[in-house]
Every structure is written in structure tokens, then in C-alpha cells.
Amino acid sequence: MPGLEDLYREIILDHYRNPRNRGELPVPPAHKVEGFNPLCGDEIVIYLDVDDGVVTDLRIGGQGCSISQSSASMMSAAVKGKSVREARAMTRAFKAMMSIHESSLDGNDGDVPEIDPDIKLGDLEALRGVVKFPVRIKCATLSWNTLTQGLDEAAQS
């Protein structure tokens, strides 16, 4: 059985205890999107400022477990200031790190997204251990799915 240290790496606990980019942004101009994990009741709110194809600012609200909160915190630090294109590429890379298990859980094997080899996940690599705990994968991907929703909404406006 994988140990707890595979799941709760120090950097994850650090982001959980000291979440980055917590708060709200004025709506509009910011886009506000909400994500829910029906399994555990976790809720995440992302406020997203997108200007000229760049994620100029974002803030995270809501509440959840250490995995969902630290993933959101790391996500916010990773995509803030990046272009929408880079943010989407990073989302694909992160979900690919999780997706082998997620897609096999959902029963649609083979639907692995293309990954840009230049994308560096950095601290986010610490969440790799989550795949050993399949029920927690959705905790880790919640903020990323919500980000995708926000980027889509920003693109349509």
C-alpha cells in the first residue's frame, strides 16, 4: 500500500496551510467560475482576469481538502501571468499526469491528451503521488477543470 508520505508531500501541506492567491476579484471585469466535487462536497471559486490573451490575475475561493486546496494554490501560482495558451498547455500536462487513472476510472481508456514536452510542472509534480490514491484524483483536478471552464468563458466574452 502506498504510504501517506506519497500523498501528503511537504510542499502540498505548505500550500494547504499557506494558500497563495486566496481572495476575490471584482466581477466584471473578472470572470467568476465555480467547481464542485460531488464526492466530498468540495467547492472552488476562481476569479480570473484575462487581458489580451494573458491571465493577468486570479484569485481562489471556496473550501476543500488539503489536496484540492493545495492543487488550486499551486495552479494559481503556476498560471498567473502566463498566456492563456500556456495555461491551457499546463492544464493538459497536469491532467495527463493524473489522467491515466482518471480516464481508466471513467472507462474511456485511450483518450490521453497530447502533452507539450516543454511544459514544466515544477512544484505541481508533488501531486504525482495522488494517482496512487485513485479516489483523490478528482480532488487534485477540480481546480484545473474549473480553470478550463473560466478560460472558456473568458474566450467567449
Partner: protein, 410 residues
């Protein structure tokens, strides 16, 4: 003296004899589903291996025996809840289906736009969503009894909410708070206002002696898998004249007396509500579960759970003081063995992950009661729920696990 010989009862449950990663299983999630005793497994195995055939169809010997055992289980179940007659017992998949049956059959035949149904803020989603669906379809009105700060139903405006209402539908025992609701009082108030009364007995019947006649309600639903029985079998009990007047729910074989190309005639109750081949072996399994619980004695089950809940509340509060909040009534005699725990600032999902490494099974979630969680101001709780096979050592293991959780998350 302890009300139950838990050491002996534990031996009846093969799953609890196992070890996971070197730990004995400390199963504290019976509110979600109970484990199964060997007697139930044996009864189901015997059915499949010695006399299994479809019911109510054929004259050959094993079909007759299958039908006889199936209907004998219905009789046992009727006796278990003191139903006035066996034909009041309608088999459903679970309580969710029992409530949906009432919503689709009784409510759609009797309610019109503007009619009101009264629910409470402590309901499981199963007793909210079917009514919300009806509200969207028919334009009925939903009203909610609130909750007091000491986790009881707020009855101060009960009569006002019941004014002109057609149904009062509520849980007998909250799956989150453990609160036991005043069923008889609520049923009487509903009747005085001209409304019928439905009780969600999912958490009540597995843990309390159930007498539907004494409770005074009109509809009562409960489920097998939370009371040592298999999944896939639940029960709707209702007063006979109400069942008689209700239109069928699902159409198909088994529920008809006659079918012509231009029409059909339904069977009498309860079969008119049981379309298609029923879960035969599950019904027989639930009958065996009822035998098992009856042999233990439901009064003893209740007494045991009061003792163990008292021990759990005392132990957890003494060991963790202000670090722990248990959302629910303080008095063990006024509640069931459901402990919804908030512990320091650790998220319930993380608590259950740490506990899992020690073989301790608790549920971490909103427990299918999101409106209630919002009312409590929490997103989720870690819930330990007790049953006949739990004892003080399980509570001690939970407390030790919480100690480790505190250490881990600093």
C-alpha cells in the same frame, strides 16, 4: 451489564474477521451501509443453490418453494415493523425508490399546482430531490421546517407551515446529526392539518424498534442494506386504503391481472407496485436479516447504541476538548449513533485518509444532505456511525486515529 455481546456478534460478520494492511477493520460507516452476517449470506446462497426459480409464475416444486420463501420474507418484514397486514409491504429498490414511488404515484394523482409539501432542513437528498422534481413539473410549493441550534427540528411554526399542506415528509433519524425526530407528534400535527405523513426510516429502522402503527404515519420507507441485508431491496409501507387508491408506479409483468391489446387491469396490492421480476433473493436475504436482528432484539440494539454513543461522546470530548465538534444532540438517549465530526481545521477527506491507514472506515462528505451542511455552515464532516458489531475498542481506535491526524497535520 452490556446490552449486547459484541465479541460474539463480531464473529457473525466474516468481513470483520479480515485484516487490511495488517490492521483489523474498524468499520464505522454503517450509516452508509452495514456489513452482512453469515446468516444472511447463507440464506441467499441456499436460495440460489437449492430452490431458486422465478416467483408467482410456475407450478413446479422449486418455483413454488421460491414463491413461498419470498412471500414468507414479506411476512417477516411486516411483523418486524408491526405492519397491520402483509399486503401493505411494497418491495422497492431502496428508500429512494420508495419515496419516488410516493412522489410519482400518490403525489401526481393527488397534488395540483399550488399544493404544498412540508419537508425539513435535515433531509437526505432522497427526501428533497423527488419533491423538487415535482415542484418543477407541477408547480407545487415546498416549505421547510428549520433546525434549532441544539440540532432539533424547529417546531415553532409547524402549524403555520402545515396550513393547507397535503404532505409532511421527514426523516425519523438524521443521517448527519443523529437527531431522532418526534415522529408521532409530527404525524398527529400533519393529520390535524389534513395532510398525510411520510417518514424516511432509512436510519431509524436498522437501529430502533419500529412500530409503524404506533408512529402514526401514512407512508414509511426503509432499506435492507443498512440493516444487515443485501443491497437492492427496500420497503415502502403505507396504509392499506392509501395504497389501494394509488395508481401503479411502473408498468409491466407481475403487476397485472389482465392485459389486452387495448387495456390492462392491475393486480391487487402490494403486487400492483411490483412490476417485473423482483429482487427475489435479496428479499429472502432481507428476511434473514430481519430474523438475525429479531434474535438479537431491537430493544437491545437500541440500548447498546445508547451506551456506545455515550461512551463515544464522552471519550472524544474528553480527549479533544475544543479541538472537536460533534454536530448533533448531546443526549445519547435522544439521538442515534451517528457522529458527525469537525476536527480542528483538518478537512474530513484528510481525516478519513489518515484513519484509513489504520483500518478505520468513516465517511467524509456531505452525506447527501447539502442543504443541511449549508445550514451547519460546513462543507463536509467526517462521520462515524455505529452498529451492533461496534464496541468501545472501535471508539478508542477512532480516537487514536484522530490523535495521529492531529499530529500529522500539526
Amino acid at each position: 451489564m452490556a446490552s449486547l455481546d459484541v465479541a460474539r456478534i463480531k464473529k457473525d460478520f466474516p468481513l470483520l474477521q479480515q485484516q487490511v494492511d495488517g490492521h483489523r477493520i474498524v468499520y464505522l460507516d454503517s450509516g452508509a451501509s452495514s456489513e452482512k452476517p453469515q446468516a444472511v449470506l447463507d440464506a441467499m446462497d441456499e436460495a440460489y443453490t437449492t430452490y431458486y426459480a422465478n416467483v408467482h409464475r410456475s407450478v413446479y416444486k422449486i418455483a413454488a418453494e421460491s414463491t413461498e420463501r419470498y412471500e414468507a420474507a414479506r411476512q417477516k418484514i411486516a411483523t418486524f415493523i408491526n405492519a397491520p397486514a402483509t399486503n401493505n409491504i411494497v418491495f422497492t429498490k431502496n428508500v429512494t425508490e420508495a419515496i419516488n414511488l410516493v412522489a410519482y404515484s400518490w403525489a401526481r394523482a393527488n397534488l395540483r399546482a399550488g399544493d404544498a409539501i412540508v419537508l425539513t432542513e435535515m433531509e437526505h437528498h432522497a427526501n428533497i430531490v423527488p419533491w423538487l422534481m415535482l415542484k418543477e413539473e407541477r408547480g407545487i410549493e415546498l416549505r421547510y421546517l428549520g433546525i434549532t441550534d441544539d440540532y432539533q427540528l424547529d417546531l415553532s411554526n409547524l402549524d403555520q407551515l402545515l396550513e393547507g399542506a397535503k404532505l409532511l415528509s421527514f426523516t425519523g433519524l438524521s443521517n448527519v446529526l443523529g437527531t431522532i425526530t418526534p415522529i408521532r407528534q409530527l404525524a398527529d400535527a400533519a393529520h390535524a392539518a389534513g395532510a398525510l405523513c411520510l417518514v424516511d426510516g432509512a436510519q431509524y429502522t436498522p437501529h430502533m424498534p419500529t412500530d409503524v402503527q404506533a408512529l402514526g404515519c401514512d407512508f414509511y420507507g426503509f432499506t435492507g442494506h443498512k440493516m444487515c441485508g443485501p443491497t437492492g431491496i427496500g420497503v415502502l409501507w403505507a396504509r392499506e386504503e392509501i395504497l389501494d387508491a394509488m395508481p401503479p408506479f411502473l408498468g409491466g409483468g407481475e403487476m397485472i391481472l389482465d392485459v389486452r391489446l387495448d387495456g390492462w387491469t392491475a393486480k391487487e396490492i402490494p403486487w400492483k407496485f411490483e412490476a417485473g421480476t423482483p429482487p427475489i433473493v435479496e428479499v429472502i436475504g432481507l428476511g434473514a436479516a430481519v430474523d438475525y436482528l429479531t434474535a438479537i432484539g431491537m430493544e437491545n440494539v437500541r440500548a447498546h447504541e445508547i451506551e456506545l454513543t455515550a461512551y463515544a461522546l464522552r471519550t472524544l470530548n474528553e480527549r479533544f476538548g475544543d479541538d472537536i465538534t460533534i454536530h448533533g444532540p448531546d443526549d445519547p438517549c435522544a439521538r442515534g449513533g451517528v457522529l458527525s465530526i469537525a476536527f480542528r481545521d483538518v478537512h474530513p477527506h484528510d481525516i478519513s485518509q489518515i484513519l484509513d491507514t489504520e483500518g478505520i472506515c468513516v465517511r467524509a462528505a456531505h452525506h447527501c444532505a447539502k442543504p443541511l451542511m449549508r445550514r451547519l455552515g460546513v462543507g463536509a464532516t467526517a462521520r462515524a456511525s455505529l452498529y451492533i458489531y461496534n464496541d468501545e475498542s472501535d471508539i478508542d481506535a477512532l480516537a487514536d486515529g484522530l490523535e495521529h491526524t492531529a499530529t500529522f497535520f500539526g
